[in-house]
């Protein structure tokens, strides 16, 4: 069965890009528009990997990571955060919250796939 990946981003274009890149490699993709939406959709969906933006309305990425880690089903699930070059403090906060790794925006589809393979095996 193909691995399931959730992409969380308030930007439709980024979600679209992440989604088609991953689907092209045979992954199943769930899209969420912000932290709240993500938490809702994660329930019972058994995602194998979560790729989340940090800056989002309603619930931002840091809070989302904390909430995901607190959930028994997702304690050890890899989480990749999308950061921008300047957000070192954000990156650290995300890491402290339990993010597995990060991708610096802007990124190319190949980078996304490389990181996905790295954390999913």
């Amino acid at each position: 069965m193909s691995k399931k990946i959730m992409t969380v981003d308030d930007s439709a274009s980024v979600r679209q890009m992440v989604s088609f890149t991953l689907k092209g490699e045979g992954y199943a993709v769930i899209e969420a528009v912000d932290g709240q939406d993500a938490l809702l959709k994660l329930k019972g969906s058994n995602a194998d990997l979560i790729i989340t933006d940090l800056n989002m309305p309603n619930m931002d990425g840091i809070e989302l990571i904390q909430k995901i880690r607190a959930h028994p089903d997702y304690k050890f699930t890899p989480i990749i955060m999308l950061t921008t070059e300047s957000q070192d403090s954000k990156k650290k906060a995300g890491r402290a919250a339990g993010a597995t790794g990060w991708i610096v925006k802007p990124f190319q589809p190949e980078q996304l796939l490389a990181v996905t393979r790295k954390v999913l095996g």
Binding site: S11, A12, S13, F20, D53, T77, L82, P106, V119, G121
Partner: protein
Amino acid sequence: MSEEMDKARAAFREEAYERLAELEATMLELEESPENSELVDRAFRAMHTIKGSGAMFGFDAIAAFTHEIETVYDLVRNQQVPVTRELIALTLSAHDQIGALLEESHTGKTADEDRGRSIITSFQNLVPADEPPTDDTFFQESSLTPQIQEEKDSEPEPLKEKEATYRITFIPDANIFAYGTNPLLLLNELKQLGKCQVIGHIDKVPPIQDIDPEICYTQWDIILTTVQGVNAIKDIFIFVEDVCELSINMIDRGEEGLLGDEFEKKLGEILIERGDLKQEDLHNVLEEHKPIGKILEDSGLVKSSQIQAALAEQKHVKEARELRHKTESSSSIRVASDKLDTLVDLVGELVTVQARLGQLASVKNDADFLLIAEEVERLTAELRDNTMSARMLPIGSTFNKFKRLVRDLSNELGKDVLLTTDGADTELDKTVIEQLNDPLVHVIRNCIDHGIELPEIREADGKSKRGTIHLSAEHSGGNVLISIHDDGAGLDASAIRAKAVEKGIIAADAELSENEIHSLLFAPGLTTAESVTNVSGRGVGMDVVKRAIDALRGVIKIKSTPGAGTTIILKLPLTLAIIDGLLVKIGKNDFVLPLATVEECIELTRQDIDKVHGRHVANVRGSIIPYVHLREEFNIPGKSPDIEQIVITELHNQKVGFVVDYVIGEHQTVIKTLGHFYKNVEGISGATILGDGKVALILDVNQLLQVVEQEETQIMN
């Protein structure tokens, strides 16, 4: 992908317009309540999204411009820059500028660059002098230049470093799992860099009742030999740098290894060299001596696992060095194939001369002479094998070509077929491989077209929807067996029979065994498919395959079980230059039969012939086997001995005997062509030169049989 990218770009544009509208509304609200930090956050986010996505989809000018504004807004968020009317006014003109840039991207209407630059300057002037505007340097160099690329993004050409061996000590934090990291994946990534030896240390694993499964107790030593360099190793650990102890040390490197400890002599060796110690004495002492690892372990200075790790490291470095040495010294060279062909010809002549030498030696019966002859025989055999093996290629590349064929054909026919292969590394003479391609294509086409059923039919028969064709190759004596198995419907014996009767290949009342019916498939013009498809073609049956395999001096066998599938086995000689033959004699004439076709040899007495009333069939352990009397067939004058020999061959599922005077035995047959003069001769495929210098003819058993059959039909008519 680019179509998808265009869609994403369109989505971005739409999104950016939405964000701009949001930014505008936020600014108007902010004018009302400048203290509302929530509004500043929203403005920041809008710009952040525009910038981030913009860069990703190639809107570099927008990204660069927005970045500058966002940087100032970051300070506003942190209350280092106050919200003023001026800020709001500037933001609104920035908003207009972004809008203009967006429009530029799809209408080609140029945005005012100078205006953009002046907006940025105005924003930067809002920042107090003592506040560093930004903590990153990335956009400063490239701001407003269209090409934005982070250095990390543009993958630098991987520098091919010299091969080196590293010791990597990886001690993950106990809570590494909580970051969603699986250390085993990192180890797997390391393995992809090169030859890698992983030693796990599990000393810290507590007794089972105390184990917390959420804690990582294990640590690893990895010995890795790679050409990728230390940075590639570091990159693997990029996400875990902060949650592990990592050390990477180079422990061996190309030329250093040669000058290093490899040439350092051991104490014992030096003592022996100086004549102070005898080799055996050293051996004895060393045997009593415990290995250093054992001594150290017993002393309690180091743990057993540490010794294991050190030993593994030692072994790995040694192997890496050996391998390097080997590849350096035994790298392959390319040789023109005609040079190899010449070499094979020469070896063929040598084999012939050697046979003469052997024969002469046994006649002279001189012990020394015999010894030399034997030595030459051994060397010749080795030389022959080595020369032949130089022309050998693995059949795998041919197999791979069929994957595409199977895929395309099964799609075309609406079938679901999987091709599996086995023995791709089986080696065959390159000429044989080249000539094998076409018949294999034909057999596989047949399997897909006639063998494998449509998915619905398969399902109805209780089979998996997907059919399988299994292609395998293996060595068997001096031959290669290539089998093509499909799990399709199997051969329909009655359909084949009916078709053969219809085409006049067999008589309507002919009594045929199942094997004989299967062998009808090879008759020219017989195809059993009810409809002619453009896959298997019209009227081109398995006779094409048979002819090709005959040319290779090979044999075809078919096994089929209705409903369970068909297996076609091709038995081929390893090479075309020298074959294993069976030497026989009729009168004073010598003939060679390809050993691959020979099943057994039995005696045929006058009584046996009488019993079957002179008809050309022999009773072999209860089964009736037709035979060809070669002396009669070839009109060789003289009288047959009372007890003749019958050589039973099996060809394409059919057993036929050939009666000869004497069977001499196996013979390494160097094949010589009979040349232009004899190109039309039927039943003889070549000649070979015997030890006594005489020429023996090589029989083309299959062709001979056809000729005999034709003649018999003519006589009957």
